[in-house]
Amino acid sequence: MSETALLESPGKPRGLAGDAWHDLRRSKIFWLAAVLIVVILLMAAWPSLFTSADPRDCVLSRQHDGPTGGAIFGYDFQGCDVYAKTVYGARYSIIVGVFATLIAGVIGLAFGLAAGFFGGWLDAVLSRFIDVMLGIPLLLGAIVLAKRLSADPASNGVFAVTVTLGLLGWTTAARVMRSSVIAAKNQDYVAAARMLGAGNGRLLFRHILPNSLASYIVVLTILLGINIASEATLSFLGIGLKGDAISWGIAISEATGYIRVAAGPLIWPSVFLAVTVLAFIMLGDAVRDAFDPKLR
């Protein structure tokens, strides 16, 4: 740690989070990822900030027209504004990504805490269950589950995809939580708290959980990126979002049929999707580096 850093905070020593934030502020990757994510979140919340065109205003007569003043990415097969459609596509990607990650986060937290803290037969059962879940590749399980959940033709599939990815994607998170809980529970301060009469609940939520959260948050950040990519893949296959939902996966799937005529409708949703996933993976990488004391 540099001398100036010590001078900045003469009174109170920084905690782990403070140290991490101190490192993060200097990381270019972190700022790049943060800026990208803020822009994408704005796009998801208020797409009309970025475009005044209506993504559903499609006129067949301008099919595959090139870029014009209003529509900077041109028009797709249906004659929709590619730029407007791409901007509006951010919303469901973020909704599905965030909520699927939340579901997976809660399940992973419960499994990880229970298996790590109580150990014994409970750990054995839960860990075997996680092994079994890992025996099913994510997308294959998702194909079966999403197909069943989205059987209702009236739904746009957002609920089905979110639940599917949430229910299938928590295993890595649970494993990470379990191992950090096991590491934390053998620390002296936990033994001290237990001797002072702290109950299991207090030990878990006041002492062990806060000290196990860092790596968990990193895993969830990366999982968010993976979930966004999986949503696009499921939508591409035709079991993700559907109906009137605007999604990058659907846009890419539609555009693959016409790439000889027009490349724009394929390229732009692809670029936005890849940048979004990249932003979350970079954020996860940067936060991991900041929280890892070995790298200091």
């Binding site: 092994d131 099913i136 994510l138 197909k147 893949t233 890419i252 693959t256 790439i259 890849a274 996933v277």
Partner: protein, 308 residues
């Protein structure tokens, strides 16, 4: 070694029943009327319904039905698709091209990952190392739905270096671009693991001893370091197979390769439930078996694993 194999086989049995049970439960969880789904929009008489219920054991309870499903899987009867073809026959038709594609992908990924991983571990902090880090980050972030159509557009159509699609009897040349696309899914992690593991082994005592004996750099790296560094990379290949299977569905669709993934894609699109479940079940079993083999191989290569 024997005890390890027995333990691993017992685990495999548990995982097999668990994983197939989950797949089966998932597919029956929200099912409303499979008979109506089977006959489609047409009306159905009571006697037809009774005959179908009898034939598919639909009157039995969930666990009995699961038992019939497992029995089918173990005896090679994976069900019949809605087009009235046996799933087993469709698989037999489809797997050779998928196997060729995935073996090519694994070879491409492993070659690039090991070569680039070793070089960047030796020259840590160099331009090459930093460039590889950036490239792997970008490749990691590219979902298969982005990389497959874009590669087809750029290398197939715009530049014209590769054939745009591969058909039924695709040559190795036609499969090269799709295999490279598939390889991109796994190359980044493999490269990073190779780099980390070579970098760690370079600091080991036995490397210093080898150098002190006067061995050439090539022999130290190529024989001493590489043999120990590749062990973790081998386990990755088993895990990566899951990513390859998922990737093959999109890749085969985009490049029009009539393999397992392409059939699965068509099954999803035509709402062919039995086909999808049959294919997914077989892929899950392949995944489990390959991981078992990889784990046994791992134990054979690294004696420490057997005595944990």
């Amino acid at each position: 070694m024997f005890r390890y194999i027995v333990r691993r086989l017992l685990q495999m049995v548990l995982t097999f029943f668990g994983a197939t049970f989950i797949v089966y439960a998932l597919m029956f969880a929200v099912q409303d009327d499979p008979i109506q789904a089977l006959v489609g929009e047409k009306p159905i008489t009571d006697s037809q319904r009774a005959a179908l219920t009898e034939r598919y054991h639909l009157g039995d309870n969930f666990f009995a039905q699961y038992w019939y499903y497992i029995k089918g899987l173990l005896t090679g009867d994976f069900g019949t698709s809605m087009t009235n073809r046996k799933v087993a026959d469709m698989l037999a038709d489809a797997w050779p091209v998928t196997l060729r594609l995935s073996v090519m992908a694994i070879v491409i990924a492993a070659t690039i990952a090991i070569l680039a991983g070793v070089v960047s571990a030796i020259r840590r902090g160099s331009i090459f190392d930093n460039a590889t880090l950036v490239v792997t980050l970008i490749v990691l972030a590219m979902p298969i739905v982005v990389i497959a159509p874009i590669a087809q557009l750029v290398f197939g159509i715009k530049l014209g270096w590769f054939p745009v699609t591969a058909g039924r009897d695709a040559s190795l040349w036609q499969l090269l671009l799709p295999a490279a696309v598939l390889a991109s899914l796994v190359v980044a992690t493999e490269l990073r693991v190779t780099r980390a593991s070579v970098a760690e082994n370079l600091r080991a005592d036995y490397v210093r001893t080898a150098r002190a004996k006067g061995l050439t750099g090539a022999r130290v790296i190529g024989v001493h370091v590489l043999r120990n560094s590749l062990i973790p990379v081998i386990t990755l290949i088993g895990v990566d197979l899951g990513a390859l299977m998922s990737g093959a569905i999109v890749t085969e669709k985009v490049f029009n390769i009539p393999g397992v993934g392409f059939n699965l894609f068509r099954g999803i699109r035509t709402e062919d439930g039995p086909l999808v479940v049959g294919f997914v079940s077989v892929l899950v079993i392949v995944f489990l078996v390959v991981n078992l083999i990889v784990d046994l191989l791992y134990a054979a290569l690294d004696p420490r694993i057997r005595y944990e």
